[in-house]
Symmetry: C2
Subunit: 235 residues, 2 copies
DNA sequence: GTTTAATCCAATGGTTCCAA
DNA sequence: GTTTAAACCAATGGTTAGAA
């Protein structure tokens, strides 16, 4: 059971950041200390939604609307380790750094929960994403993070293989989607080597255990496992 | 870190059972083995509700309704260890046995989940309660089990203290509610002895770690903790 | 009054569907 | 076409209001 090296890249990961990037978490342990209310719990509970009128999915911005430029994040491109994406693109070191940022946001949420005597999440939950937004990390969102978890998993579990894959896919000029798909298969191999316990593979890794195993990866493992045992039974 | 003895009582715990009681879980590993469907997951997934018209809370049974006698369970009374409740009552050994039954139902759900490559619960979840119902254990339900978890916790963590409390409250002729309230305080003491980590107290115990820490107990611990630290600061 | 358990409800994990 | 992320939705943990 080895822990992959945790040394972080120190160079700028994102040249094109819209003023966000690596803001340090210098705030102390905030929140009012006087919270003895047993019958009425703290209620200051990380901005949970006040029940509001259900809002219909907005269909394309009306041309006359006020232009607060809520542009979306630049797309990822396949970069090799250490390489910074140029143009309106983000690189994979930056992608992986977002996962480490989430880990720090989870730490903060856990601290707060413990101080308040509330139940303490062990995983990156909706609450953590909400907290990240509140702390200004508007570039972090659930669908994005869930989409690439298994890529980050490979990065955590076998950095060499991960780095090799990145170089290979960059050379071939493959797009991010192709690289992302390719990340599944080394993980399936690792699951096989661990008695198909992909859950366990995640939980045993210090950095990974805060992430839910993606459904697709679990299903892939299940599928491959049954193929394996079939080929034992017949011929 | 000690594991309290796990020897089960063998005598009948419930003389008044309406045909349920201790049915053995002799069924093997059921479910069709041919479930290779990756894109379409098994869908046989333990009877999740088909979206149905919302049903209003029924206000008192209409006198003309067909009388399928869905009577409810007999109330618990405070019994001492080994004592069987007489009359239309259930004893506390029987109550604690329900928790052990839930643990076995969780085991079954976990088995099934692993076979199907689905995510595997570590706690007694809604799914487990649903499974228990499906297996005929209609006498198990979520509100009841949640209501008495901390009583079971004391039984698991300090059987002597738990037994003593039962005898004491029985002698005094206290009702179940009073006994239940009294169970909180030894647990708060144990939390104190463990750096106020009540979550940890639960998780470190083999039988308890499948149960969520009750909100009330967590709040009580938090409250007592802050009282303790206050009395350090002033005078 | 005490005790049980159906019902409700906001917040969740997970995904779809669309905008860019 | 690819990629992003707002919005959705069924199922959850937790509780309330009520029945026995």
């Amino acid at each position: 059971m080895m822990f992959p090296d945790t040394a972080a890249q120190n160079g700028p990961l994102n040249l094109n950041s819209k003023d966000h990037a690596q803001h340090e978490h210098s705030h102390g342990l905030f929140g009012p200390p006087g919270l003895l209310a047993l019958p009425e719990p703290s209620s200051d509970n990380e901005g949970r939604q006040i029940p509001r009128k259900k809002q219909k999915r907005r269909l394309s911005r009306e041309p006359g609307e006020d232009g607060d430029d809520r542009t979306r994040e630049h797309p990822f491109i396949v970069t090799e380790p250490g390489e910074v994406a140029r143009g309106k693109k983000n690189g994979l070191d930056y992608l992986f750094d977002l996962y480490e940022q989430c880990a720090r946001f989870l730490d903060e949420v856990q601290q707060m929960a413990r101080e308040r005597g509330e139940k303490c999440p062990t995983k990156v939950t909706n609450q953590v994403f909400r907290h990240a937004k509140l702390k200004g990390a508007s570039y972090i969102n659930k669908p994005k993070m869930r989409h690439y978890v298994h890529c980050y998993a490979l990065h955590c579990l076998d950095k060499d293989k991960s780095n090799f894959l990145r170089k290979q896919f960059k050379e071939r000029g493959e797009n991010v989607g192709a690289w992302r798909q390719a990340c599944y298969f080394p993980l399936v191999d690792m699951a096989r080597d661990n008695g198909w316990d992909i859950e366990g593979v995640f939980v045993r890794n210090e950095k990974l255990r805060i992430w839910y195993v993606p459904t697709k990866l679990r299903q892939l493992c299940h599928f491959e496992k049954s193929k394996d045992s079939d080929s034992c039974s017949y011929e």
